[in-house]
Subunit: 341 residues, 2 copies
């Protein structure tokens, strides 16, 4: 077994300067979708072009490098405001506070936070600061990454990954429908609690301005349980056909959620940046077949690159245990740059 | 200058077998978007779940490997039927005939064809066969690729690339609005005639089941004018920042279309498969700034991976000279797996 020669590769990016990647990309996003979103470069936030009125505000954010997350999900039926940090770095508490203020229309704000130390800290501080602005906030923590589940061993807990799409979609629909702050937050926590994700990569991503991927693999292995910030996973598994790779992701998620015959799920087959549509559609087919064989109903399925890690070549599978209420909120109209129906 | 070591890389894919890539991906697409589309594996076509009535049918197709094109654009406001070939290979005339029959609701069918010898031949034969079914057809040829413009020198003419998205969107809207067969075809030809595209790649794509990219580049050059089937371009240019790379694409297109101050365009910044969202948004910003500096109005802009070449790392810029009629048809509602507004 030898290290793939790819590891000495020079990776290149279509960027100007690494320092300007995030701000220039957000300018570009607004230039494409100016009817939906507005980029406030001073506050460092992305808002709806036309702010919503008289509803619970929904704000999310985190490091960049995961596009279209989160700015691509700002719009009717999903987020009111996204707060982007630098690549793989938390936004500041002041940015989150500005985003929380912008998201508020008098009924409080739900903050959807992926479970990373910096994000959690800065959203908490921002929530405290928001009380000075007389804004009531609730945090919904997303911690779906099964690879980082330490059980009762303590530690920072599971990381937040692609389940954030399900949480943002369903919470956004619930807020749009006029629910109260506590009800929206409770629903978001329920979605997070019943969602788990498992991921794998064939090739690591490369940070803007750098020339080598974050880690190396041999040509007959894949990295199982990778994070979305270049973190290595929980181990290597043999490279295999798509159906077998997908099974390595689906099985532990089904076991952890205790999914049984007759239950329904919402499935997200998420590309990590370097997977292309043919690959993701083939993985989606595999997810459906694996669940179908167990008598689990795939009520809704989304396949695409939604929570990426720059150009990492790999994918994740997220399952959310779904009842009629969640499916109905999932189906509610949404109109954002990256998700519209 | 030395060849990048990347060239000896083993590229891997999330697939089962190369022979089943297209059919399994189409099954997966239907499993995700079964409310919009239906994959007929016998006929080898992708149709709307609910066929439209009493309108001109719109069918397109061509080799696979360019996803989401074309199956991702089947649905209300765009295509009635997509006819996918194998990877980089034309669909058969019998497939196209089946697609044409399925697209017809009594008012004839417009066939949108990218200019490649095999596609043109098989769509022409299918059009002749369709007369046996008493279906009137018109071909709209898309030939936007400036890199293959041989002027008056003859030959097969310019290839069809990302302008097919503009043609399919606008033709689809026009057909949906109830226009006649000749009017829909004439409009499609006008869009094609006023659209040009230029592309570049930092890294070639790799065919499913193969292990090496289609061609090699040194680390300080890009391939200018690449095709979408692994074809090399018209030459190499120095690797540079995103703004400079984008200018290499925008300048020749502006010159060819004779765009002048005060004119409006629809711009498509198209990822070729391996470009990730941050890169495409930065390129979109550059397109907007370059055109703005010339007094050309970007009426609408789309940035994303729509006409790909497997995992090729690169992008193209398509400009379509736009008047109020085209912009209004562009804005008309569309509801497909890959494009919805």
């Amino acid at each position: 077994m030898h290290v793939v020669e790819m590891r000495s590769v020079m990776k290149r990016q279509i960027i100007n300067s690494p320092d300007e990647v995030v701000s220039q990309a957000l300018e570009g996003l607004e230039l494409c979708h100016g009817n939906m979103i507005r980029y406030d470069s001073i506050g460092g936030i992305v808002c709806r072009r036309t702010p919503a009125r008289d509803k619970v505000g929904v704000v999310s954010g985190g490091g960049a490098g995961h596009e279209p997350l989160h700015a691509g999900f700002v719009g009717h039926g999903m987020l009111d405001v996204a707060v982007p940090g630098a690549v793989f770095a938390s936004p500041t508490a002041l940015q989150v506070r500005a985003g929380t203020v912008a998201a508020d229309s008098g009924r409080g704000v739900v903050q959807i936070v992926k479970n990373y130390t910096g994000d959690v800290l800065n959203f908490r501080i921002a929530g405290e600061l928001a009380t000075d602005d007389a804004i009531d906030t609730r945090i919904v923590l997303v911690d779906d990454d099964l690879a980082t589940d330490a059980g009762d061993a303590g530690g920072p807990g599971r990381r937040g990954t692609a389940a954030v799409v399900a949480v943002e979609k369903i919470v956004g629909a619930c807020a749009e429908a006029g629910a109260s702050l506590d009800d929206v937050a409770a629903l978001g926590r329920r979605v997070a609690a019943t969602s788990r994700t498992m991921s794998l990569a064939l090739e690591a991503g490369t940070h803007p301005g750098q020339r080598r991927p974050a880690f190396q693999l041999t040509e007959d292995e894949v990295e199982l349980g990778v994070g979305i910030h270049g973190e290595r996973g929980i181990g290597r598994a043999p490279f295999d056909e798509a159906d077998a790779l997908t099974e390595m992701l689906v099985n532990p998620v089904v076991a952890e959620l205790n999914l049984a015959r007759g239950q329904s799920v919402i499935a997200i087959v998420n590309g990590l940046g370097g997977a292309y549509p043919l690959e993701l559609s083939i993985a989606a087919r595999a997810v459906h077949r694996l669940l179908d064989a167990r008598g689990i109903r795939v009520a809704r399925m989304l396949a695409g690159s939604y929570v990426t890690s720059l150009d990492m070549h790999g994918f994740s599978v997220t399952l959310t245990t779904a009842d009629d209420e969640l499916i109905s909120l999932w189906d509610a109209p949404v109109r954002t740059p990256a998700l519209t129906w």
